[in-house]
C-alpha cells in the first residue's frame, strides 16, 4: 500500500516536471510543425544568463531575470527564427541540422566561458527542506515545480482558448494555408509561438536549479525528454502532452520503485519506440493544438 503511495506521489511530481520541460517543445511542434532541436539551449541560456547577470555584472535577482528573458527573446527571434526557421522551414534536413548546430555552438561557448568548475548556483529556492511521504523524502522545491506546472499549463490553455491570439495560434496549428487565406500573418504567429515556448522551460530550470546538477550540457537530456513526451502526446497536441507527461512520470516512478531505478531511461525509450511504431499519432489524435 505504501509503495503505491510513493509511486503515485512521485508520478505526480515527475509528471509535472516533464510537463514543464516539454510544454514549449510541444507548442512549437503544433504550431510550426517542426522539431525544434535547438530547444535544449533554452534551459542552458536560462541558467547561465541569470548567473552571468548576478555574478559578473553584480545585479539583483529581478534585473537578472529580466535581462535573461531579453537575451532569450533576442536569441530566439534573431537567431532561431530569422536566420534558421524562416529561411529553411521547407527544407527540413537543413533546418534540423542547423538547429542542432546552433545549440551545440551555444553550449560549447558557455562551456568555454563557464566550465563545470564555475560552480553555478542560483538562489531560486522558494521552499527549502524536505517532506516525508511515508519512508520517501521529497524536496519541497519539487512541490513548487508541481504547482508552477499546473499554473503555467492552465495559463497556456486559457490563453489559447480565450484570447484572440489564442484563436489565431490554434487556427495556424489546424491549417497554415487556410489561416493565411483568412488573413493571418503566419510568420508573426510562428515568432510568437517560438517566444511563448521559452517560458515553461525557463521557469522549469530556474526552479529546479537548486536541486539539480548544473552544467553547460544539461540541455540535451531535457531535449530528449521533451521529444519523448511530445511524441507520446501526439506531436504538438497540448492535451496529449499533459496526459503523456503524467504517463511518463507514472512509468518512471513505477519502474524506479518496483524494478530498478537504472531502468527508468530504458523503460521510457522502449515505451516511446512501441508507441511510434504501433500508434504514431500518439495518445490524443487531434489536428489542433488543444
Amino acid at each position: 500500500m505504501e509503495t503505491i503511495e510513493f509511486i503515485l506521489v512521485y508520478a505526480l511530481i515527475l509528471g509535472s516536471l516533464y510537463l514543464l520541460m516539454s510544454l514549449g517543445f510541444s507548442l512549437v511542434c503544433g504550431v510550426l510543425r517542426i522539431f525544434h532541436l535547438g530547444y535544449g539551449v533554452i534551459f542552458v541560456l536560462a541558467v547561465y544568463g541569470v548567473w552571468m547577470f548576478m555574478n559578473d555584472l553584480g545585479t539583483g535577482m529581478l534585473p537578472a531575470l529580466i535581462g535573461m528573458f531579453v537575451i532569450q527573446i533576442l536569441f530566439t527571434l534573431g537567431v532561431v527564427y530569422y536566420i534558421i526557421v524562416k529561411r529553411y522551414v521547407e527544407q527540413e534536413e537543413i533546418l534540423l541540422t542547423s538547429l542542432l548546430l546552433v545549440a551545440l555552438v551555444i553550449e560549447e561557448l558557455i562551456n568555454h566561458l563557464y566550465p563545470v568548475t564555475a560552480g553555478v548556483n542560483i538562489p531560486t529556492t522558494i521552499l527549502s527542506g524536505v517532506t516525508k511521504v511515508g519512508a520517501a523524502t521529497i524536496p519541497n522545491q519539487m512541490f513548487v515545480v508541481a504547482a508552477l506546472a499546473a499554473m503555467i499549463t492552465s495559463a497556456f490553455v486559457l490563453f489559447l482558448l480565450k484570447t484572440r491570439w489564442g484563436y489565431i495560434i490554434r487556427a495556424v496549428s489546424q491549417s497554415t494555408r487556410s489561416a493565411r487565406l483568412m488573413g493571418v500573418k503566419v510568420e508573426r504567429v510562428y515568432a510568437v509561438a517560438l517566444v511563448l515556448s521559452i517560458i515553461p522551460p525557463t521557469v522549469c530550470i530556474l526552479v529546479i536549479s537548486p536541486i539539480w546538477s548544473i552544467e553547460p550540457y544539461l540541455g540535451t537530456p531535457f531535449l530528449e525528454t521533451a521529444i519523448l513526451v511530445s511524441i507520446l502526446g501526439g506531436l504538438g497536441n497540448l492535451r496529449g502532452t499533459v496526459i503523456a507527461s503524467f504517463i511518463v512520470g507514472l512509468v518512471a516512478s513505477s519502474v524506479a520503485f518496483l524494478i530498478n531505478p537504472r531502468l527508468v531511461g530504458l523503460a521510457i525509450l522502449v515505451m516511446v519506440f512501441f508507441v511510434l511504431v504501433f500508434r504514431p499519432e500518439g495518445i490524443a489524435r487531434s489536428e489542433s493544438l488543444w
Binding site: 510543425r33 522539431f35 536566420i83 527544407q91 527540413e92 534536413e93 537543413i94 534540423l96 541540422t97 542547423s98 542542432l100 548546430l101 546552433v102 551545440l104 555552438v105 551555444i106 560549447e108 561557448l109 562551456n111 568555454h112 540535451t220 530528449e224 521529444i227 519523448l228 511524441i231 506531436l235 530498478n260 537504472r262 531502468l263 531511461g265 530504458l266 525509450l269 522502449v270 516511446v272 519506440f273 511510434l276 511504431v277 504514431p280
Partner: protein, 345 residues
C-alpha cells in the same frame, strides 16, 4: 613493353598490344580514378605521422558510414537519424567476441555481418511501417535505447568505460607499419563500398531507389514492389554500416557505446552527408575528409575550437546548401540528384 604516345587530345599508353588511352582535355578526365589515386597517396605522404594516419583512417571510416547512408536515404525515401545504431551493433559484436573468445578481426567479421544482418532484417519493416518524420524519430530513439542497454548491462558491455583489449586489425610487428597498413585497409573498405554503392545506383536497382525517393505512390503504381525494395535497401546498407563498426572496433582496439551511440556522433555523420552534398555518393568522401580535417585544424587554436567547429559548419551549411560536391556537380546536371525530405506531402 610500355610505350607512351601523344595523340592530339589523348595520351596513349601501349602495354604490349594492349592500348590504354587517357584524355588530356580536363573535361574528359576520369575524376574518380584521379581522386582515388590521390587518396591512395595520402598514407604514404604522411607515413611518418601516426596522428595524420589516424585522421585519414577516421575520414575513410566516416565516408564508409555516409555512403551507405546516402544510398539508404535515397532507396527508402526516409531520413535515418540513427545510423550509428549499426556502428554500435557491428562494433560491439566484434569487440565482445574478440575480448571473450580471443578471435582475430577476420574471424569476427562474418559474425559482425551476421549479427548486423539479423538486426537489420529485424528493423527493416520499419521502413514500411513508419512514414516521414516518424521513421526519423524511431531511428533517433533506437541508438539511445541501445546506449541505455549498454549502461544497464554494464557487466557485458562495460557501458561507460568501454571494452578494451580487442585484437588489433593488423599486427606486423612495427607500429608504424601497422598504422600505414590500417590506413590502406580503410581505403580498400572505402573503395569496395564506393564501387558497390556506385554500381548499384547506376543500375536498374538505382533507378528503383530513385523512383521510391521521388514518389513512393507513383513508383508503386508503375509496378514496383516498393516494400520489398525498401526492406532490401535498408538491410544491405545497415549491414555495410555494421561492417564499418567492426572496422572501427578492431582499429581503435577499444569500443565504447558512449563514444558512438549518442547524438554528437550522429551529428557528425549527418554533417558529413550534408556538407558533402546531400545524398551524393562521392560527396560523402569529400564531406568526411572535410569534417575530419577541419576538426583537426581547429585543435591548433586551442579550446575555442569546440565552438568554432560547429559554427563554421553552420555557416557552410548556409552558404553551400548543396554541399561541397554540389559546386562541382552543377556542371553535371543530368545526373540524378536525390532529394532528402523528412516530411512528405
Amino acid at each position: 613493353m610500355v610505350r607512351f604516345e601523344h595523340k592530339r587530345a589523348e595520351l596513349v599508353i601501349w602495354l604490349g598490344d594492349l592500348k590504354l588511352g587517357w584524355s588530356i582535355e580536363p573535361r574528359y578526365w576520369r575524376n574518380p580514378l584521379l581522386g582515388m589515386a590521390l587518396l591512395a597517396m595520402l598514407p604514404l605522404a604522411f607515413s611518418g605521422r601516426p596522428d595524420f594516419l589516424t585522421l585519414i583512417t577516421t575520414a575513410n571510416a566516416f565516408a564508409c558510414i555516409a555512403m551507405p547512408l546516402a544510398w539508404q536515404m535515397t532507396g527508402t525515401g526516409r531520413l535515418n537519424f540513427g545510423p550509428q545504431l549499426f556502428v554500435g551493433i557491428g562494433g560491439y559484436t566484434a569487440a565482445l567476441i574478440s575480448v571473450h573468445w580471443g578471435w582475430g578481426p577476420w574471424a569476427t567479421l562474418p559474425m559482425a555481418v551476421l549479427v548486423g544482418l539479423f538486426f537489420a532484417a529485424l528493423f527493416s519493416p520499419l521502413t514500411t511501417l513508419a512514414k516521414g518524420l516518424y521513421f526519423s524519430l524511431i531511428t533517433l530513439v533506437l541508438p539511445l535505447i541501445f546506449l541505455e542497454l549498454t549502461y544497464y548491462f554494464t557487466g557485458i558491455f562495460k557501458g561507460e568505460t568501454g571494452l578494451f583489449g580487442i585484437a588489433p586489425l593488423v599486427n606486423l610487428g612495427r607500429i608504424k607499419t601497422n598504422y600505414i597498413v590500417s590506413a590502406y585497409m580503410s581505403l580498400v573498405l572505402l573503395m569496395v563500398f564506393l564501387f558497390v554503392v556506385f554500381r548499384i545506383m547506376q543500375s536498374r536497382y538505382g533507378l528503383y531507389a530513385a523512383a521510391i525517393n521521388d514518389d513512393e505512390e507513383i513508383a508503386e503504381v508503375m509496378g514496383l514492389n516498393i516494400n520489398v525494395w525498401k526492406v532490401i535497401c535498408f538491410t544491405i546498407t545497415s549491414v555495410m554500416i555494421a561492417v564499418t563498426g567492426w572496422f572501427m572496433a578492431h582499429y581503435f582496439g577499444t569500443f565504447a557505446g558512449v563514444t558512438f551511440l549518442p547524438l554528437p556522433f550522429m551529428l557528425k555523420i549527418l554533417l558529413v552527408v550534408m556538407i558533402g552534398g546531400r545524398g551524393g555518393i562521392y560527396g560523402a568522401i569529400y564531406g568526411a575528409y572535410f569534417v575530419v580535417i577541419l576538426e583537426k585544424l581547429l585543435t591548433v587554436i586551442g579550446p575555442t575550437s569546440h565552438f568554432l567547429f560547429p559554427l563554421i559548419l553552420l555557416i557552410l551549411l548556409f552558404v553551400l546548401p548543396e554541399g561541397i560536391y554540389g559546386m562541382i556537380r552543377r556542371h553535371r546536371y543530368r545526373e540524378y540528384y536525390p532529394t532528402i525530405r523528412v516530411r512528405r506531402r
